[in-house]
Every structure is written in structure tokens, then in C-alpha cells.
């Protein structure tokens, strides 16, 4: 936590410096005099993930504060082709900075490198493409998040006295090609290995779609009621109405264990209803805020503290769900 606090202090200092003493270079792009404000475009995996709305709001507020323009452009549903097309468009528009949340790091790497080659400052947000030439990644340490989820699963299983049992576990993930989600799975598996006996029944893929996620879980439980536990690499299944998951509801009441990534308002509400026993959350606001701030730094040729801007983790269990919910803003989108 100390490390995190030190980082926050550095960032705030940097922001003050940028605001008060804008570097001379910041007024110029290349050799020509800038005639428009700095434009930073954030490209999420999709627009329909409401969890990112917080990040968007934070990015916009930061942009206003820094007197730059921020854009939020992406495919409505996860679609790497459209994401690539959008980044190509941003390159043509010669925006100053781009932050990409990579739904398929392999596919996106060339276009990220192309944008970098075009002189655009490129970062990744939430989901990284570490092999690309991006300047930095701003988001959660997804491996650590997975480890935390694994640890939470061990605690719950131990508390239930099921450590000697081989548990049928199902992983629900958004995509097999997203670096962030794969890292979470890797962390989870590493953390639970040799600690509890897990039988990985199947890997459900929902394309990061809330409805698909809920349906996939329901369908699986109907077919495999013997399932003991779920690990959700994201909170998609809980973003819809809980009434849409009656089988899951019954399964939870029968003692099923679920550990999920995400601590947003609707996910916490679902957890309180008994849909999850432990949550590991990301700080979307920080993602939005830091991404914009450090991209502005990069555009103004100011130093970036690290290639990895960690936005930290938020841990919650049945004891803290209610308290944590008090700190969140309710969503009324759907």
C-alpha cells in the first residue's frame, strides 16, 4: 500500500506541474503550431460494458482539468476487427494519444505499432498488449488479481471444509485472446495449485457480453448440476437482472461457490444476494484518470514513471460487501 500511495503522490505532483507549467513543446506538435487542443482517444474493447463507464467519466473529468479533449471510441460489442478499423481511423485523424483496451493482443499489436510509428503516443488500458510498442499499460495487475481470486477461493473452500474434496470448477471468461483475462486465469490457477483439489470442468466464453454470460452459466448448471464452484474473470454475468439466473440462484442457495473479478455497484448487489462469496475489483476511475494524465505527459514529452501504471486491486468478501457498496455510485443504466 505504501508503494501505491507513493505512486499516487508522484502522479499528483506531475499533474500539478503539467497544469501550472506546460512545457513549451506541449504547444507544438512536430514543427507546426498546434491549432487544436490535444486529443486523446480511448479505445475500449466494447462500448456495451458498463463497468467502463466509470473509467470514461474519470477520463473526461481529467481531460477537462488538463484542458485536453478525450474521446471514447470502440465497437459496441467486442469486435477486434472494428477495433482495428477504429485505430486506423484515429491514425488518419492524427489524434495525439490513443489508449487501447486489447480484446485480442495478437491482432491489435500491428495497428498499435503502426500508430506508434505515426508519432501517436499509444498506451494500453485495462487489457495489455505487452509485446507491442505501446508506451505503457495502465490498469490492474491481472495476474495478481487472479492470484487474489485464487486465494479467496482457497479461503472459502477451507471454510466449508471441502479441502479434501475434488471440486468441479468452471471458469467464465470474456475471450481466450485477451491478455488481461488470460493473466487472471493464470494467476488463479497458480494460486490454487497444490492448495485445493480443483477439477476444471470447462471454460465458458461470453465475449464479454452480459446476456451471453448469464445464459452460459444457466445452461451449464442445467447440464452440470454437480458443479461446485465458478471463477468469473469478469463481472458480466451479474450486470443483468438477477431474475434472469434462477438456476444459478438456486445453485448458490445450495452452497455453490463463486469468486468473481469486479467490484462495481451491480456486481456487489448481486454478491449481497448470495451470487458470489468473494470479489476482486479494479479501479476503473483510476484507469481513466491515469491513462489520460500519463498520455498527456507523453504527448508533452514528460517522463512516464513506469511502463506499468498499476491502478491497484479492491478485495471484498461476504463480510465487506455491504460496506463497500456504500462507497459505490448506483448505476441506473439498464
Amino acid at each position: 500500500m505504501d508503494l501505491l500511495n507513493r505512486k499516487k503522490g508522484s502522479i499528483l505532483l506531475l499533474l500539478v506541474l503539467i497544469t501550472v507549467f506546460p512545457p513549451v513543446k506541449a504547444l507544438r506538435v512536430g514543427s507546426s503550431v498546434r491549432t487544436r487542443p490535444i486529443i486523446i482517444s480511448i479505445v475500449p474493447k466494447s462500448l456495451d460494458n458498463p463497468m467502463l463507464v466509470e473509467a470514461k467519466a474519470a477520463a473526461e473529468l481529467t481531460a477537462r482539468r488538463l484542458n485536453v479533449q478525450v474521446e471514447w471510441v470502440g465497437p459496441f460489442k467486442v469486435d477486434v476487427d472494428t477495433q482495428i478499423q477504429i485505430i486506423e481511423g484515429l491514425i488518419r485523424r492524427k489524434v495525439d494519444g490513443i489508449a487501447v483496451s486489447c480484446s485480442d493482443e495478437e491482432r491489435l499489436r500491428p495497428v498499435i505499432d503502426k500508430a506508434v510509428a505515426a508519432g501517436i503516443k499509444v498506451a494500453t488500458i485495462g487489457a495489455d498488449a505487452p509485446e507491442s510498442n505501446r508506451l505503457f499499460y495502465c490498469g490492474t495487475d491481472n495476474y495478481a488479481a487472479g492470484v487474489e481470486c485464487g486465494k479467496a477461493m482457497i479461503r472459502i473452500v477451507t471454510a466449508k471444509g471441502w479441502t479434501d474434496r475434488e471440486l468441479n470448477l468452471v471458469i467464465l471468461t470474456g475471450s481466450t485472446k485477451a491478455h488481461d483475462l488470460n493473466e487472471r486465469i493464470r494467476g488463479f490457477k497458480d494460486a490454487t495449485a497444490d492448495q485445493i483439489k480443483l477439477n476444471y470442468q470447462t471454460l465458458l466464453i461470453c465475449d464479454e457480453d452480459t446476456t451471453t454470460a448469464a445464459k452460459a452459466v444457466e445452461a451449464h448448471l442445467k447440464k452440470h448440476p454437480e458443479t461446485d464452484a465458478f471463477f468469473f474473470t469478469g463481472g458480466w454475468a451479474f450486470l443483468g437482472p438477477p431474475e434472469a439466473m434462477p438456476v444459478y440462484d438456486q445453485w448458490c442457495q445450495n452452497g455453490g461457490i463463486t469468486v468473481a473479478m469486479d467490484t462495481s455497484y451491480p456486481v456487489l448487489q448481486a454478491a449481497l444476494r448470495g451470487f458470489a462469496q468473494a470479489l476482486v475489483g479494479q479501479d476503473y476511475r483510476k484507469m481513466g484518470e491515469f491513462t489520460v494524465s500519463y498520455l498527456v505527459c507523453a504527448i508533452k514529452d514528460l517522463p512516464i514513471p513506469s511502463e506499468f501504471i498499476d491502478t491497484g486491486l479492491e478485495l471484498a468478501d461476504e463480510a465487506s460487501f455491504s460496506e463497500l457498496l456504500q462507497t459505490k455510485k448506483p448505476w441506473d443504466i439498464k
Binding site: 487544436r36 486529443i39 482517444s41 475500449p44 462500448l47 456495451d48 458498463p50 463507464v53 470514461k56 467519466a57 473526461e60 473529468l61 477537462r64 479533449q69 474521446e71 471514447w72 471510441v73 470502440g74 465497437p75 459496441f76 472494428t82 478499423q85 477504429i86 486506423e88 481511423g89 488518419r92 485523424r93 448505476w331 441506473d332 443504466i333
Partner: protein, 598 residues
């Protein structure tokens, strides 16, 4: 070649009836055929042009209707601009309420993406705020309003003119070719809040127009209000000036109406909603090519008709001229053989001609026979006349007179008498000539009268009065002598007194030569004169005629030689004398005596 030409000329002589029939047939058939071909050609051309125009018009109307329907659909979609969430978003944007707009942002993304699914050609559905924030299917971007033409068009309109505006084609920021439609969004107090816009893939225009063909190479193109091509089957022309297609300067006539430009037939129509022009461009050469086909067909038809007409004409002319040729051959044969008979097979004019020819041949044969008979008769009469000249008692009596003169030593008279008798016989024979001069004929009758006067003494006298102007004309010989003989023997010789007088007169009466032999002898009763005249005219059978044998001989010879209008006319009064008038044609030189009358 020369042989062929010769054969052709021989077969198709221009003056031949067959050639004339063929040419007539060909002419009569070809003139209306050519006229028909020309009329058909130009009528077809007119109809074709009208059809091309109608078809082009129909096609353009169809394109217009499709575009109009599509644009109307977009207009209806744009009615959603007054949606609550949109209005809330715009209002909160005005006050920069970022956090308050979060839920509307997500809602709008969802709604706009749902709208985008209405039509496959929609590329972006977006709301643009007064602050240049554009929220659409791909999120939120910032736009430079001063460079956003659609926004400027709509911002400059009034609430009363809140209709759909169209801009484009242009590139959207994702690199696609689009055209944009949009409507202004007004607040509760008619304050302009922003616009709702839809970007439509330009391929839509291609989908509507691409497969439309006007003929083989004709097509439909779309041009915007600035004269820029917004659709053309050749994509590289999109964005270029319409002048490239229609030539510069283009003017404005292409926007509506129908006209030809160079080798192109152009029809334009303006799409009111977008102020675009739909232009149909057809290739005139195709029209001409089609007409060339028609012309070729017409030409082939004419040539074919000519061949058919000529063949038919050959056949018909053969049918028509065959009897004529047979007739011609028969006529040629008839020149050598009058017994030829033309075969008559039909009742038409040619058959009638054949019959007439046959009748003519029959008549000729009859006339020939008649002519032969007449000539025979003429010769007989001449022989008789000659026999009359050498009657034994005439010679005997004359010789008795000569002896008497010798005995009385009247030698001078003997010499004259012998000379007269010699001249008389010489002229009678005339070396076998039929015609002799009037002078010789008059000398002959003078010799005769001299001889007879010596024989008969003072019994009668004679006088010969012949006009000098007629003596060189010709006449049948020995015509006057029988008349004078009659005047002597039946007129003056038996008179008691010695006052008998015979007058021979010759004169010209109009175009004839007349001779009169008159005497003051005994004359004849009227019934006898009538009977003689009737006998001369053939009105009385020859065998019934008891008198006038010599007169009839003379008359028949004249009629046989010169025709019925010539001959003798006899007048006589009992005890007063007789007059015989003889009429002859005026014959000059050595004209052959031919039968003149019918």
C-alpha cells in the same frame, strides 16, 4: 466475260417486251418497297427513340423512387432525434455534466447501435452537440464544427425549415465513403441543441444504380448539387466533375430533360429531397447499330424482293411472251408461207391477236387468189383486145382498100394507108408493154380512124382534141380504139346522111385524165344505156348482157388496173348520138400497172 455479256444482252435486250415486263415489274414492286422500307426505317427509328426515352425515363423514375423511399426511411429514422435520452444528453452536454450524462451515454450508444441495425447500409448514427461532441455508434468523438458541413447547413436553418439535409459524398473518419443525412434538434424553446446525423455507405447508391443498364453500355449516374459525380459504374470517376462525362461547359440542362450530346443520349432528373441529379446516359451508337441491323434487314428484304420480283417477272414474262413469240415465229413463217396458221390457245388479247392474224392471212390468201384471177383475167382481156386488133376481115378490108388505091394510082394514099396500118399494129403490140403514153394511144386511134375513114369514104368525119398537157402521161394501151370502133359501127356508119362525126377528146379533170369518145350517130334507147351501164358496174350478170362486149372489156381492164373509181360511163340519146367518158389516173413514167382497188 464477253460471252456472258453477249448472252445476257441477247437474252435481255432492252427493247424486248420481256425486258420491259421485267423492268416494269421490278419498278412497280421496288418503288413501293423502297418507300415502305424508308417509311419503316424512320418509323422504327422514331419508335425506338421514343422507347429508349420511355425506358430511360422509367429507369430514372425507378432509381428516383428507390432513392426517395430510402431517404424517406432515413427521414423517419431521424424523427427519433426527439427521443428523451437524446434531448437529455444534449441538455446535460450544454452544462458539461459529464457524470450526469454517463447513463445517457450508455443508453444512446445502445439506441444508436440499434438504429444502425435498421438498415445494413448505415455506417454511423450520431448526435452532435453544440460543443462539437459527437456521440454515435462508435462512441464519443470530438468534431470541428466549422469543418462539419452538415452541421453548418442545419445550424443555419430555422425551426420552420426543420427538414432533412444531405451532404456528401465524403470520407468518414473510419475511412469509408459515405453520404450524410441529418436533422436539427431543437429544445423546448426552439433553441438549436445540435443535430442527429446518419452516415450511409456510398455503396448504397451503387447497389441501387449499379445493375441498371440502359442498353449494352448505357448506365445511370448520380451527380450532387455541385456537379460532382457521386455514383458512377467506374468508381474512379466518383468525386469528379460531371463535365468529364458531358463535356465542358456543362451548363445546367443535364439536370433535367432529354437531349443528345455527341454520341450520347442524356436524360436527367433532379431528386428533390437531396437536390441530386439522376442522369441516364445511353450510347447513341447502340441505337444506330440497332438501326443498322434494321437497315440491313430492309436492304436484305429489298434485295430479296428484287430477286423474287425478277424471278416472278421472268416467269410471268415467259408466260406472257411465249404466245407472242409463237405469234412472231408464225408471222415470220407466214412471210414465206401464207398457209401458216398461228396456234391460238388463249382467249386473251394475244389469242385475239393470233386470231386476227389468222384472219388477215386468210384474207391475204383470198386477195392473192383474187389478184391472181384478176391478173389472169386482165391478160385474157388484153389478148382478146389484141385478137380484136388483128381481125381478119379488118386486115382483109384494109388490104382491099389499099389494092383499090393502087389500082386507081392513088399511090400517096397507099403510102399513108400502109404507114397508118403499120403504126396501128406497132402500137397494138408495143413490144408487150402494158402501159403506153397517151400520145401513142391517141396516135393509135388516129391511125385507126384514118384507115377506117379511107374505107368508109365520106360517110362520117372525125376530130381528135387532146390537151398537150396530158400526152406524156401513161395509159393502158388500146382503150380508145374499141370505143371509136363502136362509134363507127354502132353510131355513124349507118347514118343516111354523110354528116356523121366522131370526136375524141382528152383532158385533165382535177387529178384524173378523162377521155370522151362521142358521136352524133343513132344513139341508144335509155333502157339499153341503163343496161349497159349496169353491165359495166357488174350489177348485171355478164351472160345476161347481150350488148357492149367491147365496152365491158375496156371497163374491166381499167378497173382491174386502177380500181373501181376509174372506168367508163356511157350516155346516149336515141337518134342523137352516144358519148363514152373514160376516166384514168394520172400515171407518170414507167409505173407498173397494179390493181389499185380493194
Amino acid at each position: 466475260m464477253a460471252v456472258v455479256r453477249k448472252l445476257f444482252l441477247k437474252r435481255f435486250r432492252l427493247k424486248s417486251l420481256r425486258t420491259k415486263i421485267i423492268l416494269s415489274f421490278a419498278g412497280l414492286s421496288l418503288i413501293p418497297l423502297i418507300l415502305l422500307a424508308f417509311l419503316s426505317y424512320y418509323t422504327y427509328l422514331e419508335i425506338l427513340q421514343q422507347n429508349v426515352r420511355t425506358y430511360t425515363e422509367t429507369v430514372i423514375n425507378r432509381v428516383e423512387r428507390n432513392l426517395q423511399i430510402y431517404l424517406s426511411d432515413l427521414e423517419r429514422i431521424l424523427e427519433l432525434r426527439n427521443d428523451y435520452y437524446i434531448l437529455q444528453y444534449l441538455k446535460l452536454s450544454l452544462i458539461d455534466d459529464i457524470e450526469g450524462n454517463q447513463k445517457y451515454t450508455y443508453r444512446l450508444w445502445e439506441n444508436l447501435n440499434n438504429i444502425k441495425k435498421y438498415k445494413t447500409d448505415l455506417r454511423e448514427v450520431a448526435i452532435t452537440t453544440l460543443k462539437g461532441v459527437k456521440i454515435g455508434c462508435y462512441g464519443v468523438t470530438n468534431v470541428d464544427l466549422s469543418q462539419n458541413n452538415l452541421f453548418q447547413i442545419l445550424a443555419n436553418r430555422t425551426t420552420q425549415d426543420n427538414t432533412m439535409a444531405i451532404y456528401g459524398p465524403h470520407d468518414d473518419w473510419l475511412g469509408g465513403k459515405v453520404f450524410s443525412v441529418g436533422c436539427a434538434i431543437y429544445g423546448d424553446y426552439d433553441n438549436f441543441l445540435g443535430i442527429m446525423s446518419i452516415d450511409v455507405e456510398l455503396d448504397l447508391l451503387a447497389r441501387i444504380c449499379r445493375d441498371i443498364r440502359l442498353g449494352k453500355s448505357g448506365y445511370v449516374t448520380l451527380v450532387d448539387q455541385n456537379g460532382q459525380i457521386i455514383f458512377h459504374p467506374q468508381p474512379e470517376l466518383i468525386g469528379k466533375s460531371v463535365g468529364l462525362l458531358l463535356g465542358n461547359p456543362v451548363g445546367e440542362s443535364w439536370r433535367s430533360g432529354y437531349y443528345t450530346h455527341g454520341n450520347r443520349v442524356i436524360m436527367g432528373k433532379t431528386l428533390p429531397l437531396a437536390n441530386w441529379s439522376i442522369i441516364g446516359i445511353s450510347d447513341r451508337a447502340e441505337l444506330i447499330a440497332e438501326m443498322t441491323t434494321v437497315a440491313r434487314m430492309s436492304f436484305a428484304l429489298i434485295v430479296g424482293s428484287i430477286i423474287v420480283v425478277i424471278l416472278v417477272a421472268l416467269l410471268l414474262s415467259g408466260v406472257l411472251t411465249k404466245p407472242l413469240k409463237e405469234l412472231q415465229a408464225s408471222m415470220r413463217a407466214a412471210a414465206d408461207n401464207l398457209n401458216t396458221i398461228v396456234p391460238v390457245r388463249t382467249d386473251d388479247e394475244i389469242g385475239q391477236l393470233g386470231r386476227a392474224f389468222n384472219q388477215m392471212l386468210t384474207q391475204i390468201r383470198q386477195l392473192m387468189r383474187q389478184s391472181v384471177q384478176e391478173q389472169k383475167k386482165l391478160r385474157q382481156i388484153e389478148m382478146q383486145v389484141l385478137q380484136e386488133q388483128i381481125k381478119p376481115h379488118f386486115i382483109y378490108n384494109t388490104l382491099e382498100v389499099i389494092i383499090g388505091l393502087l389500082e386507081t394510082d392513088q399511090n400517096e394514099d397507099v403510102i399513108k394507108m400502109v404507114e397508118a396500118l403499120g403504126a396501128f399494129f406497132r402500137i397494138s403490140l408495143s413490144q408487150g408493154r402494158e402501159l403506153i403514153s397517151i400520145k401513142e394511144e391517141v396516135d393509135h386511134v388516129r391511125n385507126y380512124l384514118y384507115i377506117q375513114k379511107l374505107r368508109h369514104g365520106e360517110k362520117y368525119d372525125y376530130r381528135i382534141e387532146v390537151e398537150d398537157g396530158i400526152v406524156h402521161f401513161k395509159t393502158l394501151k388500146l382503150l380508145l380504139q374499141p370505143l371509136v370502133e363502136n362509134a363507127i359501127y354502132h353510131g355513124v356508119r349507118s347514118l343516111v346522111s354523110n354528116e356523121g362525126l366522131i370526136v375524141v377528146r382528152g383532158y385533165r379533170a382535177e387529178e384524173t385524165i378523162c377521155f370522151e369518145v362521142s358521136d352524133n350517130g343513132r344513139g341508144m334507147p335509155a333502157d339499153l344505156v341503163m343496161a349497159l351501164n349496169r353491165s359495166l358496174r357488174g350489177e348485171q350478170p355478164e351472160d345476161q348482157a347481150k350488148h357492149g362486149y367491147g365496152l365491158r372489156n375496156v371497163h374491166e381492164r381499167i378497173v382491174l388496173a386502177f380500181g373501181q373509181e376509174y372506168g367508163l360511163w356511157l350516155t346516149s340519146t336515141l337518134d342523137q348520138g352516144t358519148r363514152v367518158v373514160l376516166r384514168l389516173p394520172m400515171i407518170k413514167g414507167e409505173e407498173r400497172v397494179e390493181r389499185r382497188s380493194g
